[in-house]
């Protein structure tokens, strides 16, 4: 990341609670243009909640989210969302799903054909989602998320439901399309290797209450080799950090 790249997203969540439970406290998340930030943390640390807040799907919190300095209140066309499951509409063809944002004729939009080709589904543009494998369906979801050139892409454990080989393929594909479109991304994941392979930065979240508790800058040029010893070293640091969380929460539980 060069120094000139400005801050694209600035999300500050002072407090988010579900009933009595505080899910997020004093979380500040910044994303620069073109940057990929990964959020890792134990389940229940509020990483998906944070993503939902940035997506504008959850507005019941104290704090503020700004994109390019403008306050966000609700979903925005400048932010694309990719969920854990493909979430394609089963009654629409792949093309109609990808072009969903453009309305009824979205399937015939030239941008749709372009994106479908980019994710390698050109032969399935007319197919129904049911005819796709899990990995193919998630590729269609990536294309849909990129429709309309959003500046920021949010991904909530996007590849956790596919097998290991497909996952590696999808990760490389994601990096490829995101770089081509100059899109920034926030990726929530519980897969450390995925976080280190995808992210420019990896933020560690701790639970009870959810907060950012450490950051690792992955200063490894792309394309990255998954066997890179630097990645292995960073992975060890992440694991150490998580061991520290567990010990702390273990002590807390005994009290």
């Amino acid at each position: 990341m060069n120094a000139a790249s400005a801050c694209l997203l600035d999300a500050r969540v002072l407090r988010k609670r579900y009933g009595e439970r505080v899910v997020l406290a004093d979380v500040a998340l910044q994303v620069r243009r073109g940057e990929i930030v990964c959020l890792v943390g134990p389940s229940g640390c509020g990483k998906s909640t944070l993503l939902r807040i940035v997506a504008g799907l959850d507005r019941d919190y104290r704090g503020a989210v700004t994109l390019d300095g403008a306050a966000l209140d609700g979903p925005s066309a400048r932010i694309g969302v990719i969920f854990q499951e493909p979430r394609l509409l089963p009654w629409l063809s792949v093309a109609d799903n990808v072009g969903f944002a453009a309305g009824r004729r979205g399937g015939r939009d030239p941008r749709t054909a372009q994106l479908i080709a980019e994710v390698g589904l050109a032969a399935f543009a007319g197919a129904l989602p049911a005819a796709l494998s899990g990995g193919m369906a998630q590729r269609a979801a990536i294309a849909r998320g990129l429709f309309g050139e959003p500046e920021l892409l949010l991904l909530d454990e996007p590849f956790s439901a596919v097998d290991a080989m497909t996952r590696m393929h999808l990760q490389a594909l994601l990096l490829d399309v995101v770089a081509r479109h100059g899109t920034s991304a926030i990726v929530v994941t519980h897969d450390l290797d995925e976080a280190l392979y995808l992210g420019d930065r990896v933020l560690m979240l701790a639970a009870d209450p959810g907060r950012i508790d450490g950051e690792i800058v992955v200063d490894v040029p792309r394309p990255r080799d998954r066997r890179d010893p630097e990645l292995a070293r960073l992975r060890a640091r992440l694991i150490d950090a998580f061991h520290r969380f567990w010990e702390e929460s273990g002590v807390a539980a005994q009290r």
């Binding site: 089963p90 007319g126 796709l132």
Partner: protein, 286 residues
């Protein structure tokens, strides 16, 4: 759903429903199922001719056909036409209203809370209880009959629309939120297509109830129609007439339900594909 046609072309080689029907393992049983009613009729014919069954209670199928032939195509068509028109008018009005009211109640919890108790009570009223009221208010012309049929068709469709919209996967609704769909766009682009399988089932139930209510309506005060034929046959002691009407009712019900099923397959071709191949694709991992 105009996109279906072009989509099917693109998928012609891999369309799973087609591949399945080519090698239908139940083909013989389906053919036997089609032949079964004819076999039963043939057995009744035999039993009556052999005097095992009393002909004044159970007319032979050949006698029923003869009665129909003697009535002549014009008279039969007049009765069938009158009943069918009533069913279509009543079903159209009842189901149409049910879709509108059901959509409103499915979309708005407030409207649902306001109207649901009343609809529950109205639903509990037996069909025949409406007859005197309708005769009192609307006379003995077409209006009370069509209204009664509309009442019969309304409730199953209404229930299906409300339940269908309520049952739409919240994740799809959330997708609508991501794409900033307004409530009408959300209804048209996500809720309606997602609820369509249930709505179509409701429409089929509504149609068969419309036929039932049509008979109830025509038994009371009519000069035409299959219900009239039934009561006429009973009053004049002619079981052949009664059975002719019953036979025609069965035939018409089967025909209209078959037509509905064809519409259903058309509208919901995506669901067939969904059932056949890839259920796990849409399951979440957790």
């Amino acid at each position: 759903m105009t996109q279906t046609a072009s989509r099917r072309d693109a998928l012609a080689s891999v369309h799973p429903a087609r591949a399945r029907s080519a090698r239908d393992p139940l083909r013989r049983w389906r053919m036997a199922g089609f032949a079964l009613p004819f076999a039963v009729l043939a057995m009744i014919e035999l039993a009556v001719r052999a005097d095992w069954l009393p002909a004044h209670l159970v007319p032979a199928p050949s006698e029923i056909l003869e009665t129909l032939a003697r009535m002549g195509a014009a008279r039969v068509a007049r009765h069938v036409g009158a009943s069918t028109l009533r069913v279509f008018a009543g079903f159209g009005a009842g189901a149409g209203l049910a879709v509108v009211v059901g959509a409103a109640m499915g979309l708005s919890r407030r409207i649902d809370a306001l109207f649901e108790p009343s609809f529950q009570a109205l639903r509990a009223i037996p069909s025949l209880a409406w007859v005197p009221v309708l005769l009192l208010w609307l006379g003995i012309d077409e209006a009370p009959k069509i209204t009664l049929i509309a009442i019969g068709a309304f409730f199953p469709v209404h229930l299906a629309v409300v339940a269908g919209i309520r049952g739409v996967d919240r994740k799809l609704v959330e997708l609508g939120a991501v794409y900033r769909l307004g409530s009408f766009a959300l209804f048209r682009r996500i809720l309606l297509p997602a609820a369509l399988p249930q709505i179509v089932t409701g429409l089929r139930t509504g149609l068969s109830l419309a036929w039932m209510f049509m008979v109830a309506a025509e038994l009371i005060a009519a000069t035409r129609g299959l219900g009239y034929l039934l009561s006429d046959g009973r009053e004049t002691g002619r079981p052949d007439l009664v059975f002719a009407a019953i036979l025609l009712l069965a035939l018409l019900g089967k025909l209209t339900d078959g037509a509905m099923r064809r519409i259903e397959t058309r509208l919901l071709s995506w669901r067939d594909a969904f059932d056949a191949v890839a259920e796990p694709v849409h399951r979440e991992a957790s």
